[in-house]
């Protein structure tokens, strides 16, 4: 019984945290662009902004264009939300605070998070709009080519910790966080970050919903609550990426003074702010350059780090 209760609390928690991540992003971006983010909605700092956005999108008229492939069009947001929230099942938020601690945790996370690609393609293809089709094609290219560096980068902590169970990875990092491994940790973390950004379609890889060419990418034809799902899915994916990143590389919840849960929250927040910082200061790269970057640079680099990690765990 308590798993049902815990999963409901987890779901509500994710949606609430993600809602306030959108608020944080607009505030942080505003501050970086020397303006103030949302300010007037919930008087002092615009705290009620995400609630207002959600309620407004709830009430919006839900247009289903006539030429769309109805099943793909309606199912796409559900698949995308499913793919991104299911990842939180195996992510431990504390020592024993986890829904189900699979011993193939990392594999499960990587498999589920690549499901989002199907949702995005369904959205793009279903809405029968030329921009959406173009963006869906681009999304498929980009996400597939970044799957491999992501997997290899995640394998490095698995090799160093000797097991795929997330909680045991964190235990293995109690003394030295994986990122502080001299040459190996930084490169693996960098590859993980770059390919996770590409997975989540964030700048500089956000060509699927590139504002300047394809208006709003695969979300062109969506309005109201369906658009809210697609929009939130991106932030849920980012939350998952920063959580997984802080667990795999930044040593989860072990840290010197503060209580364990706070450490994890602090690290994810830091990682999220880093992703935001990248988003608001870089220019988007073109599709073929993105693919070239993944195949020519990230793929061999991640193979090299994998070999290095193997050697390292063999010696020590």
């Amino acid at each position: 019984m308590n798993t049902l209760f815990y999963s409901l609390v987890l779901l509500a928690g994710i949606l609430l945290v993600v809602a306030y991540l959108t608020w944080l992003e607009r505030k942080f971006a505003g501050r970086m662009q020397s303006r103030i983010g949302p300010q007037r909605v919930g008087k002092p700092w615009g705290l009620l902004q995400p609630i207002a956005d959600g309620a407004k999108l709830l009430v919006k008229e839900d247009i289903i264009p006539q030429a769309t492939d109805k099943t793909a069009y309606n199912l796409a947001p559900i698949v995308v939300i499913l793919a991104t929230t299911l990842v939180f099942v195996t992510i431990p938020l504390g020592k024993s605070v986890v829904l189900v601690d699979l011993n193939v945790g990392v594999l499960f996370i990587l498999a589920i998070s690549s499901l989002a690609l199907i949702g995005i393609f369904m959205a793009g293809w279903g809405s029968a709009n030329k921009y959406a089709i173009l963006s869906a094609m681009r999304g498929v290219n980009q996400l597939i080519s970044y799957e491999i560096p992501l997997v290899l980068a995640c394998l490095v902590p698995v090799i160093l910790a000797g097991s795929m169970k997330l909680s045991s990875i964190v235990l293995a990092q109690s003394k030295v966080w994986f990122i502080f491994y001299p040459f190996l940790g930084q490169i693996a973390f960098l590859i993980f970050l770059v390919s996770a950004l590409a997975e989540a379609n964030r700048i500089p890889f956000d060509i699927t919903e590139a504002e300047s060419e394809l208006i709003a990418g695969y979300t062109v034809e969506y309005s109201g609550m369906k658009f809210a799902f697609l929009w939130l899915a991106e932030y849920i994916h980012l939350l998952a990426v920063s959580l997984v990143g802080s667990i795999l590389f930044l040593g989860g919840w072990n840290g010197p003074w503060l209580p364990s849960g706070l450490w994890l929250a602090l690290k994810t927040l830091l990682l999220f702010l880093l992703i935001l910082w990248i988003r608001w200061s870089l220019v988007r790269i073109r599709l073929d350059q993105i693919l070239a970057l993944s195949w020519k640079v990230l793929f061999p680099l991640s193979l090299a780090t994998l070999i290095l990690a193997g050697g390292w765990s063999f010696i020590f």
């Binding site: 700048i203 590139a210 300047s212 060419e213 988007r284 599709l287």
Partner: protein
């Protein structure tokens, strides 16, 4: 089963199968088409096979309207043509009338006209830099950071214009025979205070864009325009100078006192988006130099020669044809006036630089990706009030 067959039908109609090229129609409402331009793109996968810009969505009939307004009433109309650089429009029109009437404008008016035209060039290039960042980085990404910085600097200069004339964009500054206002007393001190801020801001943009690897990768040898094609098309201004020809009307045919200011003309090497961007950023620096010289040499005295306008039909231009062209931020802006001695022009033809600059787009964007077409369009910097007149 017929449901699926029917859906395949609908998709076939969407993707015209002429050798699997996709006909995409980037309609008049598009975040990055700088206004109202429809691009009919024939794409093969990602690459552009053929591109055909459709313009005319902002054609407001300037030439017909100006045949029914008197010479004085046309000055506020000229502000609305190239709405990013309204002072240079007024300047072109007013200089043509003064050339036709052979009026000598007082020295202070000449210096003030040069000063405000160069400030307007900086404002127009700032808006270009902001929207160029949008084209590359997308409205919600890094590009919009650059966009907001450029608009923050632009606000400083707009405050100065508001002090001088009372309006932020459509100033109605010039008048046949000089300016309409004296600058307020503290105008020059405020201007001196803002110049270092602008210089520091330009250095910041230079740093954020010029050495930026991602910016270079997105703009190096994209949309290469070689010099002879540019000349035959009539492209002018930063687009022509980006291809390596140092042709600047302020130096070639010095007008309104430009001969007693010295400044260089920046040119590019191989005429791609990067060079056009570099030329515009360096031009902004040159404009700062001109403004400083104008501030130093600002004489005292009156700003207008004509007795103040009392009766609207005061100005009559003798019959004849005059043509005068100046260096607007976008290029060679010319006014061809055919007058018949009454107080209304018989025919007023505007030679708009953006019209010819935009005509270059189909010639230089074949074989590029869709993302590059946006970068090329951004580097040509068309303003549709001027393209469609």
């Amino acid at each position: 089963m017929n449901l699926i067959a029917e859906q395949i039908e609908t998709y076939k109609s969407i993707i015209e199968t002429e050798g699997d090229t996709l006909l995409v129609n980037m309609g008049p409402q598009h975040p990055s088409t700088h206004g109202v331009l429809r691009l009919v793109l024939k794409l093969k996968g990602e690459e552009v096979v053929k591109i055909e810009p459709v313009i005319g969505y902002l054609h407001r009939g300037f030439e017909k309207l100006s045949e029914n307004l008197t010479y004085i009433q046309i000055v506020p109309l000229t502000d609305r043509m190239d709405y990013l650089a309204s002072i240079t429009n007024e300047l072109a029109y007013v200089l043509t009338i003064e050339k036709a009437l052979k009026i000598e404008v007082p020295k202070k008016a000449i210096y003030l006209r040069v000063l405000t035209a160069e400030l307007q060039r900086i404002v127009s290039h700032l808006v270009w830099l902001g929207t160029f960042g949008l084209d590359l980085g997308g409205a919600l990404g890094g590009g919009s950071t650059l966009f907001l910085y450029c608009f923050r600097e632009r606000e400083i200069i707009l405050d100065l214009f508001e002090e001088f004339s009372g309006a932020r964009m459509m100033y109605n500054f010039n008048q046949i025979g000089g300016l309409r206002y004296q600058p307020p007393l503290d105008f020059f001190s405020k201007l001196k205070a803002t110049l270092p801020k602008l210089k520091q801001a330009f250095a910041e943009y230079e740093e954020m864009l010029q050495e930026n690897y991602v910016f270079k990768v997105r703009t190096k040898n994209i949309g290469v325009l070689e010099v002879s094609l540019a000349q035959r098309m009539g492209a002018s201004g930063p687009v022509l100078r980006g291809s390596g020809l140092a042709y600047d009307i302020r130096k070639a045919y010095p007008y309104s006192g430009y001969e007693n200011f010295e400044f260089e003309i920046p040119i590019g090497e191989n005429g791609d988006c990067f060079d056009r961007a570099k030329v515009r950023i360096l031009e902004m620096k040159q404009s700062l130099r001109i403004i400083q010289q104008a501030l130093k040499g600002m004489p005292e005295g009156e700003v207008a020669i004509r007795p103040p306008v009392r009766v609207p039909t005061a100005v009559k231009v003798p019959a004849g044809e005059t043509y005068m062209h100046i260096e607007a931020p976008r290029g060679d802006l010319g006014v061809f006036l055919v007058s018949d001695g009454t107080e209304k022009p018989y025919r007023l033809k505007w030679r708009a630089p953006s019209f010819s600059n935009l005509a270059v787009l189909p010639f230089i964007s074949n074989g590029h990706k869709v993302a590059d077409v946006m970068a090329i369009l951004g580097s040509l910097d068309p303003v549709f009030g001027e393209v469609d007149r």
